[in-house]
Every structure is written in structure tokens, then in C-alpha cells.
Chain length 333, copies 2
Amino acid sequence: MASTIRDVAQLAGVSVATVSRVINKMGGVRPETERRIEDAMEELQYIPNVLARSVASKKTKLIGMIVPDIENPFFAAVYSGADKIVREFGYTTLLGGSNDTVDREEGLLQTMMEHQASGILLTAAFSRTKWIDRIGNRVPICLVDRDIEGIECDRVLIDNRRGAYDATKLFIQKGHRKIAIITGPLESTPGRERFEGYKSCLEDYGIKIIPDYIQIGDFRENSGYQLGRHLLQLNDPPTAILSSNNLMTLGLLEIIHTSSFKLGVDLGLIGFDDLPIATLMSPNLTVISRPMNEMGECAANMLIQRIHSPTKPKQTVIMTPHLIVRGSESINF
Amino acid sequence: MASTIRDVAQLAGVSVATVSRVINKMGGVRPETERRIEDAMEELQYIPNVLARSVASKKTKLIGMIVPDIENPFFAAVYSGADKIVREFGYTTLLGGSNDTVDREEGLLQTMMEHQASGILLTAAFSRTKWIDRIGNRVPICLVDRDIEGIECDRVLIDNRRGAYDATKLFIQKGHRKIAIITGPLESTPGRERFEGYKSCLEDYGIKIIPDYIQIGDFRENSGYQLGRHLLQLNDPPTAILSSNNLMTLGLLEIIHTSSFKLGVDLGLIGFDDLPIATLMSPNLTVISRPMNEMGECAANMLIQRIHSPTKPKQTVIMTPHLIVRGSESINF
DNA sequence: TTGTACGCGTTATCAC
DNA sequence: GTGATAACGCGTACAA
């Protein structure tokens, strides 16, 4: 059914080699011949088979992207930025969601290698897998948002400590002393680094660190809800909470909404990542905003550069989050 | 660098055919031989090249998905459901965002054909393109959420009229008579059908249709903001607004938030699609909820069935949205 | 149970 | 400028 390069060659009365030349715009073809070939392609509705091309050329224009959860707006935005760049360079995206499980991540990595992806953009599940090493030797990987130590590759990361530090500092400046944090697993870079930023800020300002105020969950909405409830039910509840990601913030807002606490009155809140709802509340939500699209764009650019020059020294780009102060950080003391 | 089936065969001391047999679990291989081959594969870290396989077999396990905007949580959820099914069947997803432009959509369709995708899940930009026809003849398409008339293919759609009708009816039951709608382009099925549901409900209840209360935009957040502002600034503003999608609802909430109108006091609101913030507001947001994951799952299932039996009569599944009544629909009259 | 040989659609290397 | 033709990595008759 589908026509091949040979059909085109036959109809145009030339050889497949010549057809290949015009398909790939390699020049060296008489204009008239070229026109005949283009007419034949049009008539046969010829669509080149990139799979066969890749088999022959040993190159693909495929880039694999592995993301924990495409439904999380943060990753959707990062992916979207990366996809834009990838497309501009004529590459195609192979996307998969690991759901933060190692099994799925390994499955996806394998799939992408089977498809001969030329490079991988990876926001890894929290543990390091042998597949990552196995693949790193074949094609370039660019780690996005979450670091994994001991891997030689490019990285686009966020200065999580700085973000958490700045937020905690703002709390302190607004008069808070009882500052809690809810965060994800300390084995993950975001979980650990945000906690460290929080902790070192409290230390710098001589504020005692209270274990009850440190709540560790799993970066999911329900986790934010549960940990938030726990915090609000303490005998001596915090006056401020730093939430370590967007989903946890949603869960936290949920429990606050159904509790007796009032945001901006007796409870301050700052969350990692901006949210569409941030400006729909009273008070508006103060957030630590990350350049999501830019992260994706940067990672995609680095990966594509890397594909073209594999030996160049590896780079790590660390992007800076910034506070968007909208009001929810302060309360009536 | 990367090892091939031949390398494995050589190391195991067998022929490529035998290796192929164990790769594809076709049986008929002596257990001992099989072990030798598996050892060889392990040692060489052999990864099969699915591209070469596809070239030879003329089959792929690739499914293309074209979505207007992956950053829209609705499409992210639909895609996520589809991806789950697709993966269960051993297929891989090729995802692309058209940004609702015909150019990009055509580019994506071409890319997917070049990659020999076995089927396409398509939420089309608003106009019909020649590529859709061209492709429909080669591989099955399943239209998702947005219909395009005159194409012979499977469909998974939503009963938009019903959703809009029910919402409008609820407004009326709550005492509203001045009911406005903001919606997307009437050339799109969602835009048109939701408007029709709204209109026919008003007619059924003998309520005059006021042109000023019908605001047409483009389904984006800013559109919701602008149209909402226009409505609220009318000399005789509506007491209720039906918003036709999630993004528009966000924009609408934004302008309401900054206006003198108070939700649930002098303005009622129902929006298409549930939102994470729906239960974080006062009053909570009443929405017309669509089964997003299920839509994607259903579409993926239908497409894969279709791939395996291309001649079976085409199906159209129409899913029913349902109201989640939370309070924002009524006001103090 | 295993091996040989050909074909898939394309690129790339020669020759002419 | 153009054309044969050998790869590319794999599946699959068909043969042994």
C-alpha cells in the first residue's frame, strides 16, 4: 500500500540513489530531474520511512523523555519547554511517565534504547538503577530537576537550598519563629536540599529546630494533606509552613481550608512552585517559583549539543528560583 | 559499539535465527541452547533494535498522540489514561502538542507517519486538514474529545450539550434568570455543543436569550478573563455564568476575585471540568466533570482493537459528564 | 532443533 | 549528474 523510495524512483524514471538525494536535499541533482522526482513523490503520496533510514544510517532523531508524572503541572511545563526545543532541531519526543517507580523507569529506559533514542532527558525516580549506567555508556543523558550522584552527564538543576532558605528567611523577617516544613523523601535531591535550606536558615538566625515541625512525606497531594493535618493538630502548632512542592501545597490548602486555621491570620504559608490558584485566594499565595519552561528548554539544548559533540566536558546548570511575595507568608501577630 | 543479534549468535555459537527465536519467545529451542544465548545477551548487554524489526516486519508498536496542549490538565489526564493502556499492550507513545494550530498538527501527523505509527489518537485543532484524510487511509485514527465530521473512524466524545444543559438547568432551579455563557469557537465541537446545550435549556424554560450574555473566546485563560470582565461590566450583568472549560474558568475566577462581585453572593458559577482548586474556595466550585482518564483509556483501547481488526464497523462512544454540585451555583436572591 | 538465505526501505560508496 | 549495489539489524520461510 504505502509507496517506497523505489516506487518513486520507478515512476520518475531514475534510480533510488537520485531520489534519496532529493529527499535529503543533498544537491547535485539536475533541477529538471528534481522536479520529476518531486512530482512522483506527490503523486504517490510518498512518506519516507524514518525507521529504515535510521537502520541504514545508524542515527535517529528521537529523544526520550522520562518524567515522574506528566499530570503534575510542573513536569508538564518542563516537558513542554523541552519539546519545543527538540522539535525546533527536527527531533521527535518519546515521552513516558515513570510514576516514580524504578520498575517503570527501567522499562522506559529500555524501551527508549530499543528505539535507538539519540539521547535521554531524565527526571529520575529516587534511586539509581543499573539501567542508567548501562544507558549512559551508549547515549547521552541529561538529568533534569533531580540529581543522581556519580553519573557523568549533563544536568539542569535548581538551587533548592537557596529557594527554601529565602522562603524561611522571609518567614523570619515577618516575625515567625515557629516555622514548619513539609517535604518529600530526604533521599531525593529536592526533598533533601529544600530541607537543608530550611534548616540552615533557622540555624543562621538562631532559631531552635523542632523535630515535630519537620514532616516528611512523598511529594503527593495526599501527603500534604496528612502532614498538614498532623502539624495543625500539634499542641503547639507552627505559625508558618513551608511546603516543598505544588501537589503538597494543594493538599495542605485543603486541610487548612477545612480546619479552623485561617491563612494570613494565624497561619503563614509559602510553597514551592507557582500555582494557577495562587492569585485566587485571600491572601494570595507567596511561592518559590521555578523557571519550568526554561529548565526544559535548557536541558533539551544541552542534550542536543551533547549529541553532536559527545566529548565536550559535561555541564551542570543550576537555575535560581525566586520568591514571588503575595501575602500568604505573613500573619497578624 | 552496540551489539547486534549477530554478535549474540556468534558468542553463543548459534545462528541468528535461533537467537531471534529466543528473543521473541517462539519456543522450539533446546533449554541449554537458550541459556547459552541468554548468557551471551547478558554479557553483550544486547538490546534489540526495534527499528530494524519494524522495517522487516512492517509493523510497529508505536501509537501517535496529538493533543492541543499538554500543559492543560484536562489533556494531560486524558493522555495519561491513554498512555497507561497503550503501555499495557506493549505499545509506545509518540506524543506531540499542536498548540491548536493546523500547521503544527500537520507536521505532527507527518512525523508520526514517517515513524510508521500504527495508529493515531487525535484531538484535532479546529479545522479539518488534508493530512487527516491522507492518514486515515493508512492507519486507524481515533478522534478524542473533538469531533470532525465526515471522517470514517472511531471516536470518543463527550455529551457536551447534556453537560451544559444540566448546568444551565441547575442555575434556573436555583432561581437564576440572567444566565451568561463564555465558550470557545463555535466551529469547534466543544464550543458549539456547549453553547447549544445552554441555549436549548433556556428555550425549554422560556427564558429569553440575551446576546450580550453570550461571550465567545478561545478556551484560554486570558479569554476567560477578558470575557468575564466584559460580562461583569454590563449595565445589567448576569447573576450566573457558565464557563466552558477549565482554563476559562481560571481566568474568570481571576477577574471575579479582583472585581466587586462575590461568588455565591451576587454571582453564581459553574465550570466545565473539575479543578484542583474547586474545593479550596468559598463557596466550593460546582463543576461539570468529565471522565478524563476514562476517555483516554477508552480511546486507547478502541484504537488498539482497531489496529488488530481494521474492518470492524467504526464506533463512537459518547461519555456523559456529570455535575458535581458544591455550592458556587447559587446566590442570595 | 537449528541454520541458510532473502527481504524490509533506506543510506552510502563506489563507479560511470 | 546519475546509477548499481552493498550494507544496516532483524524476521521468516524453507531447508536440513
